[in-house]
């Protein structure tokens, strides 16, 4: 049997595919964070809570209104995104003139309140969300079985990441967005309504988190804690990619999924720590992140 560093090839390939699945989630979540940080300079600690709310919205749409997975895929990000708009208008807006630290503290507190409330309502064990019928079953790849749903997650999140990148880098709207990021007051002088743009950007970033939540619902339990451990990893991904860099966060999300997958074969105990080790090294060598600009 072919081996790579003493590990059988099928095992390594299997882990790489799974790493790709996890990397897709990291990419989708860090994309939202990067968009928000890029324009608002807010470190959105509530991102994990919005991700969790996305999953819960899908569950509640199903049991209250009988709306299936495909409906939830569109409605849940809209609902949670609207909530994000309210949060920005009512709370975050007042903090832009202050040190960015206040935005971090506010969103952190918000995350704890949202998670506490959901736990009070739904308990901590979580709820099972069914895999949509069209995506059940698995592909036999020879070296592993890949559930069709996981393949769908890769496809869906890569498509969304690509569309977001095109929107921001290649369209007029994206150009205005980037201009507002560089110099808000000058952009406003050109007659562009920057505050509305900021609000919508936050809503969009939050909606991306909710979308990831819906994608994750059939894989993990929908539970109040599903975002807690993930958000810390995603922050590390954003720091490694370069705060505010859209492209950087997508690429580093996928890359770190791979690295994590390989660690699970070589030294499983370190699989939850390896990303932070990389983050420390990157911060020492390139403090602005791999793709960040000063």
């Amino acid at each position: 049997m072919t081996t790579i560093f003493g590990y059988p090839l099928p095992v390594v390939l299997g882990q790489l595919v799974l790493g790709f699945v996890n990397g897709s989630f990291y990419a989708l979540l860090s994309l939202g964070l990067a968009v928000i940080f890029g324009l608002l300079r807010v470190v959105n600690f509530a991102h994990g809570a919005f991700y969790m709310l996305g999953g819960f919205a899908a569950h509640l749409l199903l049991i209250w209104f009988g709306i299936n997975y495909w409906g939830a895929l569109i409605l849940s990000p809209l609902i949670v995104g609207a909530l994000g708009v309210v949060v920005e208008r009512a709370l975050l807006r007042h903090l832009y003139k202050l040190d960015p630290l206040y935005g971090l503290l506010l969103t952190f507190g918000l995350a704890m309140m949202i998670e506490g409330f959901m736990q009070q309502q739904f308990g901590s064990s979580g709820i099972t969300y069914p895999v949509p019928a069209a995506l059940t079953g698995f592909y036999k790849l020879g070296f592993m079985v890949l559930p069709i749903y996981r393949a769908w997650v890769i496809l869906a999140s890569l498509t969304v990441c690509f569309l977001a990148w095109v929107l921001i880098e290649k369209t007029k709207l994206g150009a205005t967005l980037r201009a507002a990021t560089e110099n808000a007051s000058l952009t406003q002088a050109f007659g562009i309504n920057v505050p509305v743009m900021v609000t919508l950007t936050y809503g969009a970033g939050v909606a991306l988190a909710a979308l990831a939540g819906v994608l994750a619902a059939p894989i993990t339990q929908v539970s109040p804690h599903m975002g807690t451990s993930l958000v810390v990893v995603v922050f590390a991904v954003v720091v490694i990619g370069g705060m505010g860099s859209i492209f950087g966060s997508i690429i580093s999300g996928l890359m770190l999924g791979f690295v994590e997958g390989l660690t699970k074969v070589v030294y499983p105990e370190a699989s939850t720590t390896v990303i932070f080790v990389i983050m420390a090294i990157v911060l020492l060598i390139r403090p602005t992140g791999l793709f960040g600009r000063d």
């Binding site: 059988p8 099928p10 095992v11 299997g14 882990q15 799974l18 790493g19 699945v21 996890n22 470190v43 600690f45 960015p100 630290l101 971090l104 503290l105 952190f108 704890m112 506490g116 736990q119 308990g123 901590s124 064990s125 979580g126 709820i127 099972t128 895999v131 698995f138 592993m144 079985v145 559930p147 749903y149 996981r150 894989i219 993990t220 339990q221 539970s223 804690h225 599903m226 451990s229 993930l230 922050f235 720091v239 705060m243 997958g261 699970k264 074969v265 499983p268 105990e269 699989s271 939850t272 720590t273 911060l283 403090p287 602005t288 992140g289 960040g292 600009r293 000063d294």
Partner: protein, 405 residues
Amino acid sequence: MKKLTLEMMLSAAVVALGALAFNGGAQAASDQVVIGDIDDMSAVYADVIGQGGVEAVKMAIEDFGGSALGKPITFLSADHQNKPDIGASKYREWADQSGLTMLLGGSNTGVSLAMAKVAAEKKVPFFAVGAAGSSLTNKDCTAYTVHYSYDTTSLANGTASAMVQNGGKKWFFLTADYAFGTQLQEAATKVVEKSGGTVVGSVRVPLGTTDFSSFLLQAQGSGGDVVGLANAGADFVNSLKSANEFGISATMKPAALLAFISDIHALGLNTAKGLYLTTGWYWDLNDTTRAFGKRYFANTGKMPTMNQAGYYSATLTYLNAVKAAGTTDSDKVMAELHKAKINDMFAKDGYIREDGVMVHEMYVMQVKSPEESKAPWDYYKLVKTLPGEEAFGPLSDSTCPLVKK
């Protein structure tokens, strides 16, 4: 930009560390019965005992008449947030300032091990109900510890031996990487090897892992026929879900070394059907358990887990010992506890051994399929009843220094 990033990371760490909160404790006179409960109220294990445990203790106090030794019984509860230092310092604070006479310890072996040290230091009886680690009654035993509803030894003796007898000879362990998981794997390994099986491999998974598929692929590549899940709560639920999704359940039999009815309820019978597990209590065993289950359900809307039932039983057992001793004096109460026969909705002829183990029957269960389940919460069928001595092992095996040999 560089400065900002570093500042962000540092402040994030400070915020995370600062997020500690306590529930308040009340002052109480020292000759009054004060029962404390320190448990995970807000995180992964909150559904195993949590607020449901608080409810069970209140039911027990009410059933006892609300007062002991002629004075009303005080009840305190706090959240340890799965942090051993918080659990231990709350225990110490209550012992010093609130006249605590007995503590119920909730989920998490790590926290209970820290609290057992306080039990020895403050000489306040400690009922470890939620923690699984057998070391609480072996090398870490104290004269004031009672290990109440189950432990890693009895779980392994139940599930592991039943699996091997049913042909699951080659085991691969998926183990939570902390005291509880490693003790559970150790105990199960002993049982597997004694019953004629072998262990073909294991992987230690960090606590709080969200994706178990990588580890399950390793299990599948091991050539084993049983994947032993030495984990609990969300880790158990997520690993079993992935095992189904990746078709691993088709080639290997999953064995739950610790599963609560709350986990099965969350998973649903479609995913959990056929699973073997061991429990210290189940609501549908006999008329007494059913009566308690229904009363509890009326109060909470859920059937109790074995540990919530254990909370109720432990509280009554303690209160009966106080009544028999006529005092809250720890040594006299402990003497009564070691003499008592426990016969209630939880145990049949249960007794507390020198090393602190409450010896009682354990039950090997198999999860029903959706077709077999006739009513809500009708989840288990009884495979085997393990007599107390067989489940918890002979006293001569205990490494507790208090056991006279």
